[in-house]
């Protein structure tokens, strides 16, 4: 048995009574006080998440932009210094290696942040693509050098502002600033996140994680901030229909199927990895698309449950994620279905332990900020 990896915040999680689980080889809290409680705290005030398990890669050099444009589906040339961009990274056959965020720190310098469970696979893939041409840029795997804390929710900016002299108000969504927190700890302060709320993802040196975590808790608790585990992170993202690798994304799922056409720039001039396969897929027509479903009767849909037509006769798709939505008090799901079953209002059924339970296609995100 291999031992689980721990973030720099392990002792903090233990002290707070976090229930630790194995998440992709990392020992991380699934919850502290309860998923529902943490989820609602993030929607109402603020949630603090240890996401130090995420992977980081530095891409630096004169060809950094050209390399990332070849590696990723989005148009990296449109990203200004100080701006972030969400993208997919594909195999040649069009399936997804991962979804990720790039941060442009200088004209020739990027931070790439990938999913923890894909970290090593992604870096190997990036090196492979890098070796296809003589790109003048370096790749360095920096995951062990960063702690990443996400502070999310309507009061997140107010809380984080007490730790830094960098003005946060001017930072727009999907932009970032480089500054300091808690005195002299260097930090990337990025207005990004995975909850649907306003908020920041804060990148600091690995060993500084605990000090920043404690400072955020101290500043935030009087305002209602709560530490949040992976359980709330999942329900929050699901209420927004944000994809999660291994559910809505995978090596046999291409980004057009997964609703990521908005970050798949088939018209960008270079021949990025997967472009030919994606052009062919688009020409052939979409076979499936991701829809949001709400249950019309009792039952909670889960990943892998079969989706049937309204009559419950023919299987038309499969649930990729499902839960009881804490904000809506209603069971919801994301599922792959053929385009002809994807219009809002379409009635379908989901097989829950042998019973075909009625569901309806709804517009997403499920949760809309008031």
């Amino acid at each position: 048995m291999t031992s689980l990896k721990r973030t720099a915040l392990y002792d903090e999680h233990a002290r707070l009574g976090g229930r630790l689980i194995d998440f992709g080889g990392w020992e991380l809290p699934v919850q502290y006080t309860g998923v529902m409680d943490e989820h609602l705290a993030c929607r109402k005030s603020a949630g603090l998440f240890d996401v130090s398990h995420m992977g980081e890669v530095h891409v630096e050099g004169p060809d950094a932009e050209a390399f990332l444009n070849d590696l990723l589906t989005n148009n990296v040339s449109r990203v200004a210094v100080g701006q972030a961009q969400y993208s997919a990274m594909c195999y040649d056959h069009g399936g997804c290696v991962d979804d990720l965020i790039i941060y442009r720190r200088a004209a020739d310098r990027f931070l790439v942040v990938v999913n923890a469970s894909n970290d090593d696979k992604d870096f190997a893939w990036m090196r492979g693509v890098h070796s296809r041409k003589g790109y003048r840029c370096s790749l360095s795997h920096e995951s062990a050098n960063y702690s990443q804390l996400a502070v999310q929710g309507p009061r997140a900016a107010e809380i984080l502002q007490t730790l830094t002299s960098t003005p946060l108000a001017p930072i727009k969504t999907y932009w970032f600033a480089e500054g300091h927190v808690c005195g002299d700890i260097p930090a990337i302060l990025a207005r990004t996140g995975y909850t649907g709320e306003d908020g920041f993802e804060v990148y600091v040196p690995w060993q500084s994680g605990p000090a920043v975590w404690r400072a955020l808790i101290e500043a935030g608790q009087p305002l209602g901030l709560k530490p949040c585990g992976l359980g709330a992170r999942d329900t929050l993202r699901l209420e927004m229909k944000y994809p999660l690798y291994g559910h809505e994304l995978g090596e046999n799922i291409h980004p057009l199927d997964a609703g990521l056409a908005w970050v798949t720039k088939l018209d960008k001039p270079n021949d990025f990895v997967g472009k030919q396969a994606l052009l062919a897929a688009r020409a052939a027509g979409l076979r499936r698309t991701l829809v949001g479903l709400k249950m019309l009767e009792r039952g909670i849909p889960r990943q892998g449950y079969a989706v049937f037509d309204a009559a419950g006769v023919s299987q038309v798709g499969e649930v990729t994620s499902g839960t009881q939505s804490p904000s809506l008090g209603q069971a919801i799901a994301v599922a792959f279905v053929p385009p002809e079953h994807a219009a809002a209002g379409t009635r379908l059924t989901i097989d829950i332990r042998g019973t075909r339970v009625p569901a309806e296609v709804v517009s997403t995100p499920f949760y809309k900020r008031s």
């Binding site: 309860g34 998923v35 529902m36």
Partner: protein, 126 residues
């Protein structure tokens, strides 16, 4: 964590309160705590005959689905259908108000733990 002394327990974390031939059944404080926020429960129909170890229902937390197992053989006499509308009651009062079914026992229950043995068993799961 509470382990009421008047109850008997299974390794699947059900409790049973035996009064004559009728056993009231629910899940333990340990079980509800491990599951987290319970948001769904499915219970059997009155009259269903269960063998010991049969699945009699399901509880779901936000994250997970768990089967409920009959601690002894018997016929379902009564079901706490109020739990369907308020599954979180199982988190609040697992040993009392959130009982799940009442069974008319078909035979003497076997292999159940008393509270001390169950508490010791839970300690081994940490």
């Amino acid at each position: 964590m509470r382990f009421p002394a008047h109850l008997k327990y299974t390794k699947d974390h059900e409790w049973m309160n035996l009064q004559g031939k009728v056993a009231t059944v629910g899940i333990t404080d340990h079980a509800q705590s491990a599951l987290g926020d319970i948001v769904y429960v499915d219970l059997p129909k009155v009259g269903r005959e269960l063998k010991a170890g049969d699945t009699f229902g399901v509880v779901e937390s936000i994250k997970a689905v768990s089967d409920l197992y009959a601690p002894a053989a018997g016929k379902v006499l009564e079901v706490n259908s109020a739990l369907t509308a308020d599954p979180a009651q199982i988190n609040r009062e697992p040993h009392a108000g959130a009982w799940m079914i009442k069974l008319e026992l078909a035979s003497e229950p076997a292999g159940l733990m008393d509270s001390a043995a169950y508490e010791a068993y839970c300690a081994t799961l940490k």
